[in-house]
Amino acid sequence: MSSSAENPTLTAEITKPSTEIATETAQSAKKITLKTSDDQIFEVEESVAMEFATVKSFFEDAPSSTDTVPLPNVPAKPFSQVIEFCKEQIKFKANPDETEKKRSNSEFVKEKTNEDLVEMIPVANYLEIKDLLDVLNQAVADRIQNRSVEYVRSFFGIDNDFTSEEEALLREEHAWAFEDVDED
């Protein structure tokens, strides 16, 4: 992967010349400006922004608002990936094809690292994008299913707060659950 592929949406959205925005507006593609927690500005097509239930209800309350919408809980990096997903989703809205949608969704999560997934989940949850949250949660479940307790802790960045005696007891209680676990 090239270095520009790391954050394609972000750069593309920000560096768009204003003339292009104007022409797209003429084609009734209204843009919405969103500001992430790390002060990055995103200009997103209205149809994409309406995929974010949180943003949608914001505009339902204030339909004529032209203000920049602040997203205090959303960092830029996972947000650009979320936009990438929503852009794909819109295609299937116009042209529903369940098999193709499934394939596209699995392709989307396949390319993502564990860290990407863990970062995107709170964003999808905050923006209330049900389809994305469903895809992400299933992807995480698939990745941790046969893994060890230690793997899952590092996956989510959780500290072990059990004493070694407590851990031994939990393991002993359900020894069958600790058989045939994939190596980390």
Partner: protein, 428 residues
């Protein structure tokens, strides 16, 4: 204007009030629960060890029902559970086989085959009553957790026996699930008969005479005060005059109501116990359905099944579905199966609307074949359960399987004991 979106969010969403703390990001509690509910029970049980927070999430009865609901849709009838008294083991143990987990064999200890009464398996949980010791166990097949219920208050540890009297206790434990509250309940219908011993003055022999006969009712709720509960006496409006005669010990729970078959001299009826109201009701069995072979729960409805034995066409199974309990409305359905299936008996049912039929013969009970029958399409298809061939099933009279239950299984993580989180070492 700028701050209103976060205000709106915080007022509209109460579900994400608490968050899991970790180094990178905040993943809300309800999202973690959603991820965990997508995992097989084995993984979930293992991940109790991740942290105290996760351990308490997993122990939550709400999570157990969420996970169970997901298991039903995920497995779509692929997980079968076969339970039978193992003839190769002399004293104890019933064996459970889960198809999905390569037929994991689960031995239930302490259950003396000869005296053990197994209840219907409801959402992966069953009640086992030892008729000799009056011990009652609740067993979760998924987690292999077993608890022993406190002794019934109706049955004293030392039976009332004296020089000139004798008391006989006949408890019947029935297991049910109240779908509206999510509680599992055990109902004990206990018949208590007092006998008076008298010496016949002519030949000097003892004779027994019934001096007292009562039926007592008590209930134990597992869902709410798990583990630490107790039996509670109830007055459920039993419709008979202190009589249990003719009431089958086998019960079937459907839609929050426990049903028993009751054969009277001239007719057949169902006795029904509403787990919410805790009251009895009598349900009339349609005349042509009397003599039915099997009573099961299908898609939340009570279904009576009967093999058509009269006439030329014997490849038919009649179903009577209790559509409306209050008005006692039954609907009849007939299922035809391939003519080359000479001997099919309904042996079980699936909550998803499938009925399980088994083909078997007297000579070789191990040569079973299981069939699915879809109630809506009436399609019959054979399920390949190769493991069935290697299982030595007990053979009852006329080749009818005895004590064999084949049912669909969905994992249930419900913890039967009090707080497992404390149990895991907080105290010690």
């Amino acid at each position: 204007m700028g701050s209103s979106i976060s205000q709106m969010r915080s007022s509209s969403s109460s579900s994400s009030r608490e968050s899991v703390t970790n180094n990178r990001q905040q993943i809300p509690e309800d999202v973690i629960l959603d991820i965990l509910s997508r995992l097989p029970a084995k993984s979930v049980v293992r991940f109790r060890r991740v942290s105290r927070t996760w351990c308490s999430f997993i122990h939550d009865p709400f999570f157990a029902s969420l996970h169970h609901a997901r298991s039903i849709t995920r497995d779509k009838g692929n997980a079968l559970l076969l339970s039978y008294p193992d003839p190769s083991s002399s004293s104890t143990s019933f064996s459970f086989f889960e198809r999905k987990q390569g037929f994991r064999n689960l031995q239930i200890s302490h259950a003396d085959q000869q005296y053990a009464c197994l209840s219907e398996i409801i959402r992966g949980i069953l009640c086992i009553h030892d008729r000799r010791s009056h011990r009652v166990d609740i067993c979760n097949i998924t987690t292999q957790e077993t608890i022993t219920l406190p002794r019934s208050t109706n049955i004293p540890i030392r039976p009332g026996a004296g020089v000139d009297f004798d008391i006989v206790y006949e408890p019947r434990y029935s297991f049910g699930f109240n779908s509206s509250t999510g509680d599992y309940k055990v109902l004990n219908i206990c018949s208590i008969t007092g006998y008076k011993l008298q010496v016949n003055p002519i030949n000097g022999l003892f004779t027994r005479e019934v001096s007292r006969k009562t039926v007592e009712f008590e209930i134990f709720t597992i869902g709410c005060d798990r583990g630490a509960g107790s039996w509670r006496k109830i007055d459920p409006g039993y419709p008979y005059d202190q009589e249990l005669y003719g009431l089958t010990s086998v019960s079937v729970c459907a839609d929050g109501v426990i049903h028993w078959r009751h054969r009277l001299l001239d007719q057949e009826i169902l006795l029904a116990f509403d787990l919410q109201q805790e009251k009895f009701q009598i349900i009339q069995v349609p005349k042509e359905a009397s003599g039915f072979q099997l009573m099961k729960q299908v898609k939340g409805c009570l279904v009576l099944m009967g093999h058509v034995t009269r006439g030329y066409n014997r490849n038919k199974i009649d179903l009577w579905i209790l559509e409306d309990r209050r008005d006692q409305v039954w609907m009849k359905e007939t299922v035809l199966f391939p003519s080359y299936s000479p001997c099919l008996w309904p042996v079980g049912s699936f909550k998803t609307g499938l009925i399980l039929l088994a083909q078997h013969g007297c000579a070789n009970p191990a040569a079973w074949a299981a069939y699915y029958c879809d109630l809506e399409t009436k399609n019959i298809c054979m399920i390949h359960v190769p493991e069935l061939k290697s299982v030595k099933l007990p053979c009852g009279e006329v080749g009818k399987p005895s004590g064999v239950v084949l049912t669909v299984h969905a994992e249930n993580l419900l913890s039967l004991t009090s707080n497992a989180y404390e149990h895991a070492g907080k105290k010690g």
